[in-house]
Assembly symmetry: D4
Homo-oligomer: 216 residues x 8
Amino acid sequence: MNYNIDHNRKTRIGFPEVIYGESKDVDTLSNILEETLKHSPNALLTKLQEEKYLKIKDKFKNVFYDLKSGICIVGNLTKNKKRNPDIIILSGGTSDEFVVNEAFYTSEFLGLKAKKIIDVGVAGVHRLLDRKEEINKAKVLIVCAGFEGALPTVVGGLFPQPIIAVPISIGYGVAKGGHTALNSMLSSCANGLLVTNIDNGYGAAIAAYRIVKGLR
Amino acid sequence: MNYNIDHNRKTRIGFPEVIYGESKDVDTLSNILEETLKHSPNALLTKLQEEKYLKIKDKFKNVFYDLKSGICIVGNLTKNKKRNPDIIILSGGTSDEFVVNEAFYTSEFLGLKAKKIIDVGVAGVHRLLDRKEEINKAKVLIVCAGFEGALPTVVGGLFPQPIIAVPISIGYGVAKGGHTALNSMLSSCANGLLVTNIDNGYGAAIAAYRIVKGLR
Amino acid sequence: MNYNIDHNRKTRIGFPEVIYGESKDVDTLSNILEETLKHSPNALLTKLQEEKYLKIKDKFKNVFYDLKSGICIVGNLTKNKKRNPDIIILSGGTSDEFVVNEAFYTSEFLGLKAKKIIDVGVAGVHRLLDRKEEINKAKVLIVCAGFEGALPTVVGGLFPQPIIAVPISIGYGVAKGGHTALNSMLSSCANGLLVTNIDNGYGAAIAAYRIVKGLR
Amino acid sequence: MNYNIDHNRKTRIGFPEVIYGESKDVDTLSNILEETLKHSPNALLTKLQEEKYLKIKDKFKNVFYDLKSGICIVGNLTKNKKRNPDIIILSGGTSDEFVVNEAFYTSEFLGLKAKKIIDVGVAGVHRLLDRKEEINKAKVLIVCAGFEGALPTVVGGLFPQPIIAVPISIGYGVAKGGHTALNSMLSSCANGLLVTNIDNGYGAAIAAYRIVKGLR
Amino acid sequence: MNYNIDHNRKTRIGFPEVIYGESKDVDTLSNILEETLKHSPNALLTKLQEEKYLKIKDKFKNVFYDLKSGICIVGNLTKNKKRNPDIIILSGGTSDEFVVNEAFYTSEFLGLKAKKIIDVGVAGVHRLLDRKEEINKAKVLIVCAGFEGALPTVVGGLFPQPIIAVPISIGYGVAKGGHTALNSMLSSCANGLLVTNIDNGYGAAIAAYRIVKGLR
Amino acid sequence: MNYNIDHNRKTRIGFPEVIYGESKDVDTLSNILEETLKHSPNALLTKLQEEKYLKIKDKFKNVFYDLKSGICIVGNLTKNKKRNPDIIILSGGTSDEFVVNEAFYTSEFLGLKAKKIIDVGVAGVHRLLDRKEEINKAKVLIVCAGFEGALPTVVGGLFPQPIIAVPISIGYGVAKGGHTALNSMLSSCANGLLVTNIDNGYGAAIAAYRIVKGLR
Amino acid sequence: MNYNIDHNRKTRIGFPEVIYGESKDVDTLSNILEETLKHSPNALLTKLQEEKYLKIKDKFKNVFYDLKSGICIVGNLTKNKKRNPDIIILSGGTSDEFVVNEAFYTSEFLGLKAKKIIDVGVAGVHRLLDRKEEINKAKVLIVCAGFEGALPTVVGGLFPQPIIAVPISIGYGVAKGGHTALNSMLSSCANGLLVTNIDNGYGAAIAAYRIVKGLR
Amino acid sequence: MNYNIDHNRKTRIGFPEVIYGESKDVDTLSNILEETLKHSPNALLTKLQEEKYLKIKDKFKNVFYDLKSGICIVGNLTKNKKRNPDIIILSGGTSDEFVVNEAFYTSEFLGLKAKKIIDVGVAGVHRLLDRKEEINKAKVLIVCAGFEGALPTVVGGLFPQPIIAVPISIGYGVAKGGHTALNSMLSSCANGLLVTNIDNGYGAAIAAYRIVKGLR
């Protein structure tokens, strides 16, 4: 079968087509990867399960995989060597890392400099205030939170940058699935928050790229 | 028709039966009031519409009415003259007053000393920190919030008292009806928040009464 | 009563506190406006009903009001005279103007140059393609849509700028209230869309301001 | 036990009773199949799990099975040899094949000529425009989409044929389960779309059969 | 302001752009009508409120209006004089007429011959069976139902034609808003039903037109 | 227009067709009434608005109307003179009367003997226990409750009769619309409760009639 | 630990306490069973998983288990030898048997005579009409249906007995979990249907017992 | 990696940071535990899976684990030796123990004296009345219930203490996930109930601690 890959997407809107790994089998993924690597030095797969990664690793060279997020990068990658990060990714706790990492590695794939600040949850707000100067240096803030999703609201009241809020599907009872965090971010009394789908660290990074690219 | 009023509720659980005003007509309300005032010096009606109040005012003596909340008290009321409030009622903004007042006047009806602190919303968290000492003196905190409902979470990380979180039906889009604020409070990462139904300032005051009564 | 207005918000995060007009009465609004105008040359009210505007107009000078959106600006306003717009606001049809205008006038209040392009709905996609060059000149795109909310997805596949998608509560049946448009935008297969609450044209403009300010 | 099979359905409404495989055990399925094949040259099972197929394969002759969709055809099948397809089945990506195939094989079972065009998602709309002539030749279009479900809307604005939109349960966060795609298709601003249940490729094919049969 | 009317839609997909009347003001509607009537002999408005109709009637010639459905046709209309209807519109009761009529008059606007059969609800199924011969003559069936929405299921088990099921927002409790009827039709055990949005009689007629046009 | 009234329903299942008054206009209602009264001594209309009643009263003889429930009976009615009630209708408070009365008057219309016991809500369970003997005499219990809907659960643990639980749309916040009461009754830990739609006092009475008729 | 078993329930309301097997471990179940069998000749467990049954079978005598429904009866059981069934249990297809059987065996446990009629789904309504005489002989009808849940509506229009409608969690897409069937039954236009929770065959049997007991 | 543990939480609000075990891996948990035990004699983990406990047991001394609730306490614990319990935890049945135990062991970790009373469900209300005197001695009542969640309503009508209602995710159909119990408790007609998230026994204990601490 032929795959209709959108090779001219990078020219058109600045970044290549990305491969959603979760619901494709390994054969399909391999075919798409081969086709993509004919036109591009590397390729990004998102939400890839570990058992599929293990098979892809055997078929391709230079395969990077992050177990927590399921991000997989096939091919060469040039790291951005800037000192100040373009993007700082904030989150309330270590349970959020599967999304934080998706945003982090997608950012690096796109050539941005990213930095993670984990464990600055709202229940101990002093931890956030202690790192104010550092956070002020980034161009865009990606703020991840599960449960009640209040972290972006507090960040939005303290910092002037564009803020991308990412709800996370961590929590139980009414927080299950991340819908409470999502709705909380959408209806925040802090002005000008922008929101992605639940667990969409990847989309947050692409959005940050759209913003940062305009700045350069 | 006879009304089966639960006159011994005050003996049994410490506070009298209260009359839900919203869905009863004036005749029914008048009959219930007359019956109640035979056994009690006063009576409390909640969520009473103004047009009904105007008719009730003409039939009974000593009728107090708060237009914002629809609280109506018929009969005598002895104010608590303590200096420090038993309860402080916090909220994010002036739009919340219809619930804040319901909690405030119900508390006074029950003989508690209450105080309101409006406009300490999370988007400017310094306003809350400035009044820390004053808030520390209350025995119970009632925290009202609409939209994303983040205020109780921040309060819960700063203060040790029992915290009663009241979601408010202020907001639009996903915040409409108060369900986002409710879910946000229920799934808060601040520990030990207790939550009431949306707009239930009255229930929050009764719950505060159950707590404060044990303290005396 | 004193209002705890957050006067230093402009210094802290770059734009002043804005007044949510929908659920406050005229007296409260007047007091807040007076207090605000002591520290600021102008003030913005959102979702203000016409009958309240008519009373506010009599009490203050220089009152601008847009009937469709309910935006009200009290005080002086300096228009941005740039030729190319900072922001282009796209929408599918004339029914969307109550939100398009909220974004438009808030942008102007914040000193940005904004432009509206109405009636480029997805059912006739050629209308969008015809204006490609013009749209490419803006720094940020705000894309409003009700019903199935597909416009931001198509825009996201054609343009490289930051895209702020605003779901609109126009529609009936499953589209009622704007939740279908919201969910459609959040789960778009076009990468890097950022989403606001339903009908939140005001928040979209603030977010655009956070982005454009970094570009200058 | 006797099974009340509706043998005269084909006479009455033109197509035979079909067997929903997902929630029946192999014994039940075998009995129903035996009963059906007494009156009909073949039988169609939908959403059949692989482990059940393996057992059925051993008991019956001429068993066709498609792993992706779970479609199973027992008995002889005469392929339609027309050159132009009656039905074209469009979809946004390879993740949709489990439903695309269900529609495809059900169509063939019913004697229609079907054709699949995968990977014409909205984020790269040129891929759809490139195949306009080919698509114009079909009598009915079945359009499958997960995530935000925008493909049928774009197709509906470009083509005059009857359009059967099939929402697919591919996606995460608010797209989980396919409800966003479903609602998006139901409230499309493209006129005259007709919608089936989520993942119901089988029902889409039956509906197409009802339409095409009238044309002949 | 200029309106971007999609004048070539009729050439492209066979029927003209239609005007959604519910959320536009009279001035906007008049401008759009004027613009439309330059290119077309007539125009269709849907879900138009009576007070708007009364003003439009004064500005245009040949204005037809149906109070129940809010359908408004401006300009000349040639009635289809065929004996057998292309479309039969079935419904369970007189409460459904606001949608039945929307489908009926839209069909006539498009040049189809339509017929209404009201009051054949499922609770007395003999009423439907009595008219079997008549119903068999139509090319397409539009079946409207509120409450539990079972009528299309019964019709689908009895008739071989294409069936367009239209859920109606008649009912209370769990039936309120029409969502139960919608879900019931989508998950019908009768095969090959096709469904529109709640109350979308207009869309059902367009869909019927797409089908019937292919037959001629 | 002719109305397809199901005149033989009484013969078939024991009770006549009833007219849903809420969404029909007065002309339609009058025509249906006239048609019905040709075959039957009386007719029942449900959920009829007062302004429609006032017009119907002028056109027909012997019109009974209950303002709270909107029940309207046209024609003669023979009261059941038994001493013990067939049905006892229980409810938690006076706000529930609009549904209690619907059940009560429908029961009387069907020739059953009914009795109302209001104000036995769960918050004062002794009120229910005090009337145990009286309640034990009825053949069927209809139990109405809004808010959390706990009354049928307590009744179900105390009484052996068939229990028909009717959820009521009284309440605010999460209780709004009656869905919490409905779900509470459906998932009751008291065994063998049977539930109707929200506010469906009429359906409860018909169901009671189906039961009692078998007993005689 | 002691278990507070409600031994006098049978005296109070006519049937014994039943043991919900799904969420208890085998030790807990064994203790409760032992305690119960001291006061009663037998005990009923519902929704018991097979692996637990296998352990219970080894500890107790006379253990009956139905794999499809998870019903388990421990102890002696006297079968009712009447010729005509008290209860007929109808359903649309063989997928419904896990609930049909739960109702069937619970009825037998309670001493009722029950009969099952499977495969009379609405898509072939003649199958139901063919068995009209037989169905008319039962005192109570239990009608089970998944998907769109239309069977009780059709039954309700044809038969005069008490009808207990049981929604079943069979279906996919919008039918998933059984909520569509539930809502469909609650809002049926057939009068006087009574509804249980989804998959609650057990509760339906208890309710039937409450009805039949009054008849004897 | 460093963990930003909030060591001064105990000083600030009276109880230490607790570790949410469910979504963290064993390495992360071990690091956090080591860090915590440097500043505190013990640590509490909630909702910990058994397989993780088995690994933690090997790395730390004095590890207590409760299989039902997943509560894990690492380090020394001083039991409260008071005779009367501070807290009584009530529930309807043995299925609720996974939450009852979470509340129980968290209370003990915080130095409170707790007691469990299981199996006092509403369907046999006498079991609750029999233990009235004992229950009256506690300072706070935690009331757990799944299914329809009526127990806190009945308790609230009988006892004057602060009542913390904990909804439990036990049940099927509409009760699945615990949302019915939650909504039922929030909208209770018993006054002054306070509610936690579904299954949040841990939060209930912290809230009880906030109350009891004020009493001493």
